[in-house]
């Protein structure tokens, strides 16, 4: 009864709580702004053509990210080539083919668990299996295989969600016309689910671009003064190069790292923008 009698105080409390939550939320946004501003301030005057087109060097003025950029392009290309078919196929199997039995539940729980495994564990998995057992050395291929395992759960979960969102009436219509399951999937389910799948793929690949720990574990090098020419070449990647520069004590190298980060973030933002555009187009189409 005491509380009821205190209406002004209770209202004040409610108001303060509202303000507190709003303040805290904008604090999170402020973190982002400060982070981006700081990196921009430190790094933007390093990013020029010479920076993009030079190999790493002991001399700050000559150093660049050519090998890292090409390494990242190789890595993402191979990772996409390996993980996209496998991931989408797995998602199709689980949504369209598998009976809802124990095995399917097991695979499902398993994928959820894999999504929560720390990336460095994938790194030591890649180190033991691809680098040592398969003898792939510290090659782009070993890195891509490791990254593929890392992003497979993300691809599968995203693809499954968008396949599940396709109305079952579409499938039934196709079956009613005598199409087989694969014909139905290929001609109707996949096209309808494509925007969602693409969005998931882009997000998964941008994860692969930013991941550092697994590459460090499989031994991607920091000093690579050449552009990889095949999947068996050793390589470096943007995050590795950034890590290498950031872990040096000299301030100048920290600024180089900021320059590298700007390039990395620009690539990631571009990919995210593409994902958003695809999503919006699909939504407009649906309407």
């Amino acid at each position: 009864m005491n509380e009821v009698g205190n209406l002004p105080r209770r209202r004040l409390k409610a108001k303060l709580f509202h303000l507190f939550c709003a303040f805290v939320t904008f604090m999170g946004v402020a973190f982002l702004v400060i982070l981006l501003f700081h990196i921009w301030k430190e790094g933007h005057h390093w990013v020029d053509w010479q920076f993009l087109n030079s190999f790493p060097s002991r001399f700050v003025e000559k150093a660049g990210i050519k090998s890292a950029l090409w390494g990242t392009i190789w890595l993402v290309g191979l990772t996409a080539a390996i993980s996209i078919p496998v991931g989408v196929a797995a998602a199709i199997y689980m949504e369209e083919y598998a009976s809802k039995g124990k095995l399917n539940t097991f695979i499902e729980i398993n994928i959820q668990n894999l999504a929560g495994v720390p990336s460095i564990v994938y790194g030591i998995l890649g180190l033991a299996i691809f680098v040592r057992w398969f003898n792939l050395e510290r090659s782009v291929l070993a890195g891509s295989l490791t990254m593929s395992l890392l992003i497979l759960p993300i691809i599968i979960i995203a693809s499954r969600e968008s396949i599940r969102a396709v109305p079952s009436s579409i499938r039934q219509g196709s079956f009613a016309l005598g199409a087989t399951r694969w014909q139905t999937v290929r001609a109707h389910v996949l096209p309808a689910a494509l925007p969602g799948i693409l969005t998931g793929l882009i997000l998964a690949l941008s994860r692969a671009i930013g991941e550092t720990a697994p590459l460090v574990m499989i031994g991607a090098l920091a000093y690579v003064a050449f552009v990889p020419e095949g999947p068996m070449d050793s390589f470096t990647a943007l995050p590795i190069q950034i890590f290498n520069w950031a872990s040096r004590p000299q301030e100048k190298f920290h600024q180089l790292a900021a320059g590298g980060i700007l390039v990395l973030l620009a690539v990631l933002l571009m990919m995210n923008a593409i994902a958003i555009i695809i999503r919006q187009r699909a939504e407009r189409k649906m309407k």
């Binding site: 409610a14 689980m94 720390p118 460095i120 790194g123 180190l127």
Partner: protein, 316 residues
Amino acid sequence: MEEALVRDISPKPASAPVNLFLRRGGRWQESLIQWVFYVCALVSVITTASIIVVLVKESWGFFREESIFDFLFGTTWTPLFVPRSFGVLPLVNGTFLIVAGSALIALPIGLSTAIYLSEYASTRVRSVIKPMLEILAGIPTVVYGYFALTFVTPALTMVYGETRVFNAASASIVVGIMVLPMVASLCDNALRAVPSSLRQGGYALGATQFEVTTTIVAPSALSGILASFVLAVSRAIGETMAVTLAAGATPRMTLNPMESIQTMTAYMVQVSLGDVPAYGIEYKTIFAVGSLLFFITFVMNILSAMALRRFREKYE
């Protein structure tokens, strides 16, 4: 899409045998395709199996040379120089120092953000803040490491005076910022899943929005909130690059966040950065520490999934 349909069903006059042949061929293809898809789905199971096999096999080699008891309960970790000692507790201590610090930031801020987004914010504010949090979540961890080193540590120096270049505090702060978006978005989902009839019941009894939120909505979403907390802790435990860059490389038993420490993940990076002989004891320590890391995060992920399942059973 329509073309394919037309092709598949268009009647082909006077070609019944051909049609039959095609259909049989179709069936054969069908089962091949299904089989290929099945193998792809099994890749994830094989991945889990190989993680376990690799961890067990390689750490088995380690535990044949060092006792598992000394490993789990020893308080000195000096595997890279003589006299060698393999007590993992200093690394665990470092990891949990980071976890505690980051939880102190991510959990309250994340939950408050979620409450603001789900209970207070207008659709417009939501549509601005949500993508910003997504961007924050998409920034690579090595960037956070750089930020800790070049911004947070100097900022701490300004506030507290002389600070070590590498310290647990600045690493925990950035790890906290890093997992904050995940907490916010999962808690937001949980809060929004609470049926609005519960809120309306509260308002009908004359409760203020504060009272409705804290005594009805948040408790109803409790298991979902807890699931996100556990997942956040698990993420912080596995975080690697930020702690490697900012927290230092000195394993020690300390609760002082201003000291330089080393986490389990940072140790693994440190070893693999040096040229490790493939079958030496240093190489095997990665897997012993990795097994412990995998085990801890695995248990936490399962706990989180269990909490989430309880939550879903209640409302979905």
